[in-house]
């Protein structure tokens, strides 16, 4: 509880360091007030913050279609999904705060482009079918990444991930359902679904990060129990899961080299354009500017709400303090 309490970063003690290593070795969870190495804390803060940023920036490409959803049912589903993503952001900012940072500082780092979010959200949603492709592929890739994080060594992060994973399965299914409906619809609708999958397939594979031999921090994250599988392992898992689903959808994946390797039982896929990944990550994607500008605008336009809520709280605080407890709660 009181998860904000923590030892000051930088405090050292060989016995505590030994305890930390023992707990990792026993696959025990590290909790907020436990001693932890500074680098472990810093890595978690960065990873959880960037994860949280991805959740809230990820609301934008889909929210783009809320007003134009083709039916009330689809609109309600999409609103629920986008609201979930806001919730995911909040769980994760909460988990990051247990490490001794302030959510406001993290949002400032996002707004000033000093911290990143998943580069997938820098691609535009140009048709309604993109909502389906995002649910199926982007949320699908996110689930593949996130399920092992439910066993992450840091307790609050792992608990947030359990909650998130439960909600993500609806996200993926509604996307699949949407694409299936389009795929089985008119020729025009089918083409729209195929076009969306063509555009989202490769960026989804990039979501797992650079190949293992170019991912210098992975080994340390594995040793700390933050990461349980390598980028390439997770990517392969996702491809193996997704290819048969594309068949059910009656849609093809835009990779002529995609073949089932009878020996390994895994699908082999073509080369990923890592130059594109680097370019989009550095800010050169189609929507980088737009996403941050929108985020900053929403933050600034919400300032009066925060001020009003604080003023209201201040005005009513003395009254509340005098009110006696009316029931024994436990």
């Amino acid at each position: 509880m009181a998860e904000r309490d923590h030892l000051e970063p930088g405090e050292q003690s060989p016995a505590l360091a030994r305890r930390f290593d023992e707990m990792l070795a026993e696959d025990d969870r590290i909790e907020p007030r436990d001693w932890m190495p500074d680098a472990y804390r810093a890595t978690l803060i960065r990873q959880i913050a960037q994860h949280a940023h991805s959740e809230i920036i990820g609301m934008q490409p889909e929210a783009n279609w809320i007003t134009r959803a083709p039916s009330l049912r689809r609109k309600a589903i999409l609103m629920a999904k986008v609201q979930d993503e806001a919730g995911h952001g909040l769980y994760l900012y909460g988990a990051a705060e247990t490490l001794g940072v302030d959510r406001r500082d993290l949002l400032e780092l996002l707004n000033t482009r000093k911290q990143r979010y998943s580069s997938i959200f820098n691609y535009p949603t140009t048709s309604w079918a993109d909502v389906g492709a995002i649910g199926w592929l982007v949320d699908g890739a996110a689930i593949t990444n996130q399920v092992p994080l439910c066993r992450c060594s840091y307790g609050p992060y792992a608990r947030a991930m359990v909650r998130i994973c439960k909600e993500e399965s609806f996200h993926q299914r509604q996307g699949f359902d949407l694409l299936l409906t389009l795929s089985k619809g008119t020729a025009e609708q089918h083409a729209m679904a195929q076009d969306a999958v063509n555009r989202w397939w490769w960026p989804s594979l990039m979501m797992f990060g650079p190949p293992d031999d170019q991912s210098p921090n992975s080994a340390q994250s594995m040793a700390w129990g933050i990461k349980r599988f390598s980028n390439d392992e997770l990517r392969q898992k996702f491809v193996d899961m997704t290819v048969p689903q594309a068949d059910v959808l009656g849609l093809s994946l835009p990779d002529p080299e995609l073949t089932l390797d009878g020996q390994t039982g895994h699908y082999r896929f073509g080369p990923i354009d890592w130059d594109e990944f680097a370019r989009v990550l550095k800010g050169g994607g189609p929507c980088n500017e737009q996403r941050i500008a929108h985020r900053v605008k929403a933050h600034d336009e919400g300032e009066w709400v925060r001020q009003a809520a604080a003023a209201h709280a201040a005005k009513h605080a003395p009254v509340r303090a005098l009110k006696p407890a009316t029931e024994a709660v436990a």
């Binding site: 509880m1 009181a2 923590h6 305890r19 705060e97 959510r103 209201h312 709280a313």
Partner: protein, 114 residues
């Protein structure tokens, strides 16, 4: 018994925010009763300017799928916590009293149920 670990250094808790900056909305711990008959369980935390907003935010953040029938919100600063080290001597008195558990006692065969 585990080896005796060196006691942790005195806890330094997160101090108040630096004076030049306005404090943000306070942190609340959220406890949710999943259904009648169960106790409230810690679900997570959130920021809100007052208790009323904290309850509303807790409903939106933690009970979007009927996860709760009752919510408590408690200012995080109001919670006193024991030492983070679960192997701390604080819990030691419970560790060596095996006779507190029913399995400590072997019953004669004839006793079928107890």
């Amino acid at each position: 018994m585990n080896e005796i670990v060196e006691p942790p250094p005195p806890q330094k808790l997160a101090g108040p925010p630096p004076p030049q900056r306005l404090a943000g909305p306070p942190l609340w711990e959220v406890f949710i009763r999943g259904r009648r008959g169960l106790s409230h369980v810690h679900a997570g935390s959130l920021h809100a300017p007052d208790a009323e907003m904290a309850l509303r935010n807790a409903r939106d953040v933690y009970t979007r799928r009927g996860e709760g029938v009752s919510i408590w919100v408690v200012p995080s600063v109001a919670i006193c916590a024991s030492s983070p080290d679960e192997k701390d001597p604080f819990f030691a008195p419970a560790a060596d009293k095996v006779y507190r558990h029913p399995t400590f006692y072997t019953l004669p065969e004839e006793v079928r149920q107890m």
